[in-house]
């Protein structure tokens, strides 16, 4: 299990570092076209080869990591920012009208086909990375609301919360000062999972042309462009896909490892 956790940590860090380094340096300029060098297989000059415009694939993958991570991170931020307060509110008013409304609203969002709504949103407001973030972020809200409420509900029955109530603290203050810190581990684990799902979703949206627009590099769009020349130059299709798989795999392993580590029940059982 520890091996899996460290593998996850290394893969996630690799993606993060690639994204950060791409801000200041990439082996080649990702916007520089060089038709003479098009569709070159991997070589010492271009480690992962070049695409149909002669752009360096390794450089594009680094810059694409930036887009993927930025989109997924902000989408998780939307989920946490709106979902967690809603979940806390529902738990603080458990069994009440607010709780009912929040939970039924959650069920409703879950009933919508997420991809269709994402496509609808991007169709309404135009395809862009920002709208992809909104489309992915909306579906993170009920996920975090549910996890927060579930974790908070079990805490509200405990003695130390009773004690805080007796001491005269209001529900909001208790939620912020005592509930939230104690469900932080749940949120971190869920955050990693949603982050990896966000990367997959961004890739999917970009692949159908509804995510980041050119010239912003994006793994999903690289795959879409590669599709037509997959027989000529398989490497153009293989490396962006591998980048997605390894990043998502890394985040999932990291999330699993964190959960095992943060949940003492699992540690004892395992």
């Amino acid at each position: 299990m520890r091996v899996a956790f460290f593998l996850g940590l290394i893969l996630s860090l690799a993606a993060l570092i690639a994204a950060l380094v791409s801000l200041v340096w990439t082996p080649y300029d990702v916007t520089a076209l060089s038709i003479a060098d098009k569709l070159k297989p991997p070589s010492p000059a271009h480690w992962l080869g070049t695409d149909h415009f002669g752009r360096d694939i390794a450089s594009m993958l680094m810059a694409g990591a930036r887009t993927s991570i930025a989109v997924a991170l902000v989408a998780v931020g939307i989920g946490v920012g709106l979902g967690v307060p809603l979940g806390l509110l529902a738990a603080a008013n458990r069994g009440g009208l607010v709780d009912e409304v929040v939970m039924r609203g959650n069920d409703l969002i879950f009933a919508f086909p997420s991809l269709v709504i994402a496509i609808l949103i991007t169709a309404v407001f135009g395809p862009s990375a920002t709208n992809a973030i909104i489309a992915i972020g909306i579906f993170n809200i009920p996920v975090f609301a549910r996890v927060t409420r579930g974790g908070a509900l079990s805490l509200w029955t405990l003695d130390f919360i009773r004690a805080a109530e007796v001491a005269g603290k209001g529900r909001t203050r208790i939620s912020a000062e005592h509930i939230l810190p104690n469900i932080l581990n749940l949120l971190i684990v869920q955050g990693t999972i949603q982050f990896s799902l966000g990367i997959l979703a961004e890739a999917g949206l970009s692949y159908v042309g509804l995510g980041a627009q050119p010239p912003t590099p994006s793994w999903g769009r690289m795959l879409a462009e590669a599709q037509t020349m997959v027989t000529l130059a398989p490497h153009v299709a293989i490396f962006p896909g591998l980048a997605i798989v390894l990043t998502v795999l890394g985040l999932n392993l990291l999330g699993d490892g964190l959960r095992d580590h943060l949940d003492p029940r699992l540690r004892r059982a395992g």
Binding site: D107, L108, I119, A123, G204, V208, A226
Partner: protein
């Protein structure tokens, strides 16, 4: 049981009403009006106005909402702006591809996930378990459209066993249709199988820790018998939940895969309708999909009650 059923039906109806309001409201704010879209850029304003009148687009929003809802209840989903055919007909045509594809993918997923999950749970902590869990991690991380590309590369272009895309139609016979759906179904099934195997494994492990499992073992059943007769049945509830969700996902979420393989399914219908501003199609098809999701959830809830008598009594 009747009270339980009644309460569930009420909440089902309520969700449908709210969902329809949300969908209608979203469609309201979509820019670009279908009439000018249909007539093109050079259309005279009078013509556009006349067409809008004919399509009933000039009525106030509440009236249009009621028209839409009463139509749907009577099985009239409206007329597609671009295809000029009833939406219900379009949906039925497309379902002939999407429904078999979803069922095919789900069947493949179950076929892989159940043996894998059972094996992992039975050999918990052993090499087989680690291998299954490792494989499922990779399966979950695979973007299905990329996996689809690799499948096409291998089985359609290199070995030419399956077609790379398109759909011949069921009138060409069962086999050509199934052949065309095989690669898309595999691409859709793999990530679902990975999720299903993991859920089944953890549900089984949880169940196997129960006292009645020890009783079953104590009365002389073998490990395999206990696993299948007592473990699997009790572990089925979370597995059914996930399968219900997966089925609705497969029905609507195949948009990207349908695009990869040029399949004339429900997903492509919505995708094209959105880009062509064929709003009545978007509206009605999304509503049908939401209805399907809510209905599947409802049926899964009923299935729980059938599997677990305790749930019947509690409600």
């Amino acid at each position: 049981m009747t009270r339980y059923l009644f309460r569930r039906l009420i909440s089902l109806a309520l969700s449908l009403v709210v969902a329809s309001l949300v969908i209608f409201a979203v469609i309201e704010v979509v820019p670009g009006d279908p009439a000018s879209y249909m007539l093109g850029l050079n259309a005279k304003p009078e013509t556009v106005a006349a067409l809008k009148d004919q399509l009933g687009l000039n009525a106030p929003a509440p009236v249009r909402y009621l028209n839409w809802i009463t139509g749907m209840v009577q099985g009239d989903f409206g007329l597609s702006y671009t295809y000029k055919t009833p939406v219900s007909q379009l949906v039925i045509q497309r379902l002939a591809v999407s429904l078999p594809l979803a069922l095919y993918a789900l069947a493949l997923a179950v076929l892989v996930a159940f043996p894998a999950g059972l094996m992992a749970a039975a050999r918990r902590g052993k090499v087989a378990d680690a291998a299954v869990m490792g494989a499922t991690q990779v399966g979950i991380a695979l973007p299905n459209f990329w996996f689809a590309m690799l499948l096409v590369l291998a089985f359609a272009l290199h070995w030419q066993i399956f077609p790379a895309g398109g759909f011949p139609g069921w009138d060409q016979g069962l086999w050509p249709g199934l052949r065309a759906l095989t690669l898309p179904a595999i691409a859709l099934a793999l990530p679902q199988a990975a999720i299903l195997a993991r859920v089944l494994r953890s549900a089984l492990i949880e169940t196997l820790g129960q006292d009645y499992i020890r009783t079953a073992r104590a009365k002389g059943l073998t490990g395999g018998q206990t696993l299948l007769r007592h473990g699997l049945r009790n572990a089925l509830i979370p597995v059914l939940t996930i399968m219900g969700m997966q089925f609705s996902f497969l029905l609507a979420g195949a948009i990207i895969i349908e695009n990869v393989f040029y399949l004339p399914g429900l997903g492509r219908l919505i995708f094209q309708a959105i880009t062509q501003r064929d709003l009545i199609v978007v509206e009605s098809v999304v509503m049908i999909l939401v209805f399907a999701v809510i209905l599947v959830t409802f049926l899964v809830d009923l299935a729980y009650a059938a599997i677990d008598p305790r749930l019947r009594k509690r409600a």
